[in-house]
Subunit: 326 residues, 2 copies
DNA sequence: ATGAAAGCGCTAACAT
DNA sequence: ATGTTAGCGCTTTCAT
């Protein structure tokens, strides 16, 4: 490590060292005004010699922007969110912004407090991947900063947002199961989620009876619990749609423990397309969310830059063996 | 969303509204000076009414600290790092600091650039989880801010740092395999890592021949590749020590595909203790790193606060079925 | 207990 | 092409 040594070279030090005024240093560094080549070179040399680092706080104060965006996620430990955050970071940094990631742990009080603290840090905008209720919409709007919802289970009235069409994705995944010939297709997930609507609709449009529902949130542990129930009911189930990869991974553990064969006894299809799905056993057929595209659109919308297509990004089914293919 | 509406209530607005001076608002909010109860109440009311949010940039400029710490990790998408980051965030926020997480993608040039940008953002210190070479030590020290290494494969000379005793952990894990009676124990990981030394030493002290080595970094994909080689050589291997859970998950996929039974044909023990290990199939016996403790020590060291025990945190072996137990 | 005022490091008119 | 200067919103002596 290093001591908090007596170091703080300012723009002024650089100016003196280079024998110019403060402004010229700014001009040189930010390229907003013409500077004589020789002068510029001298300034740059001084910057290097002195090891000058601009003070972002001063800049933020002056500019009213910290070139920072915030993102509120339920849990960065969940691979889907961590992959998405990384994509967001990648496009943000390309645009010259840093990203402050904060965890809400799915607690709304917390989310509002976090939004406040982001606001006080002068973020130029923030993304909310946690569930957003109407009361939060009000609270967020009151902050007077741009914000957008990211991949919420349903579009939020009155709020800007981007997210895949979850209902359509669930239909695509469910249809694949139907095409395999499975007729008793169960659902694991939340019934308040658009994926539930998609599963229901697809079953109906194929003239199939509604399947069994095993309620769960999106985590592995919850999937494991649902998986135990599913195993117990496996005689009445051919296949199952899982609302997230994590859920599927948890459920498959329970299925394995109960000796239920996948896909022979129960076929599974899941949702998200995280890297874990590829390494699960058996490898999961999953509806991959286009996280890169999602991140791109979200950041550009937030920054009010770029041309943004008006259609919702659509997921893509990745076929592996859990559904019975190959 | 909300427009970037004409909003910017400053401390001065609050002061006017409450009929006091700017200073009194600060006194009230920061509790650093005595304020008459009635005045304080009035100020607080004005804050509420006006929806005042302090400007962190101004505060940072004045104070020379943004109450921010940075952390440079190789890849937040890797569950071990994301879990660790979340722990760091949790203790930092308890101490009143936010955390800026950045990805180095294991690129040293990048790491130095990131450290620079953290410095310019006035972080109070930063943690480096990426590999740190001597040249980086110099670069980091030159920044004049506190920094510490976090969980590097080896302690870094001249740098403050915290991390588990990887060598000891690898010995513990390897010993467990030996106690099972396995005698031909392979290694998957990097030979430049302390875990390799631990595996080697434990084998030697048990009087066993050195086992097969399958080089790999710490990712799933790399584990998968190593796993294929391992499968091909499985007749000469009883058990294997994997340097990370991710590696083990990737390798197990290859083993399954090759029809190699776990633990019957090859037993496995891994390292890290991430949540994935619990849901892998079969569930992984793993040497769990004490991430909470690591995060606690790292942040407190960085902030130069609290009493920090001088011994290295030690991992704990979590027994599941991949090693042949139960 | 409260107020006045200086200044943190930077940018951007506005002069020259 | 370069210099001067006025703040951005906050904290903190130093007065009162």
């Amino acid at each position: 490590m290093s001591e908090g040594a007596p170091r703080k070279v300012t723009r002024r030090d650089v100016a003196r060292h280079a024998g110019v005024s403060d402004a010229v240093v700014t001009y040189t560094l930010n390229g907003k005004a013409p500077v004589a080549p020789a002068t510029a070179a001298r300034v740059r040399e001084s910057v290097r010699l002195l090891g000058y680092t601009p003070n972002a706080a001063a800049r933020a104060l002056k500019m009213g922007s910290a070139r920072l965006i915030g993102i509120i996620v339920p849990d960065t430990t969940n691979p889907f969110w961590s992959e998405l955050c990384q994509q967001v970071e990648s496009v943000a940094s390309r645009e010259g912004y840093a990203v402050l990631v904060v965890n809400s742990h799915d607690d709304d009080k917390q989310a509002i407090a976090l939004a406040n603290s982001l606001a006080s840090r002068q973020v130029d905008g923030f993304l909310v991947a946690s569930i957003v209720r109407p009361s939060e919409v009000t609270a967020f709007d009151a902050l007077g900063i741009r914000w957008a919802s990211l991949n919420n289970p349903h579009p939020i009235p009155g709020a800007m947002g981007v997210g895949v069409d979850l209902e359509q994705g669930a239909r695509d995944a469910t249809r694949h199961l139907i095409e395999h010939g499975y007729r008793r297709i169960a659902f694991v997930g939340s019934t308040k989620d658009a994926r539930y609507d998609g599963w229901t609709a697809e079953l109906a449009s194929a003239g199939l009876e509604p399947g069994l529902v095993f309620p769960a949130d999106f985590e592995r542990r919850s999937g494991y619990l649902a998986g135990r129930n599913l195993a117990a009911a496996s005689a009445q189930v051919d296949a199952v749609f899982m609302s997230s990869d994590q859920l599927a991974i948890g459920a498959m553990r329970a299925l394995h423990e109960a000796g239920v064969g996948i896909p022979n006894d129960v076929a599974v299809v899941s949702f998200d397309g995280t890297e874990d799905a590829e390494y699960a056993w058996p490898a999961l057929t999953t509806l991959a969310q286009p996280t890169a595209e999602l991140a791109e659109q979200a950041v550009l919308r937030l920054l009010g830059a770029g041309v943004i297509p008006d259609e919702r990004p659509r997921g893509e089914l990745i076929i592996r063996r859990s559904c019975g293919c190959e």
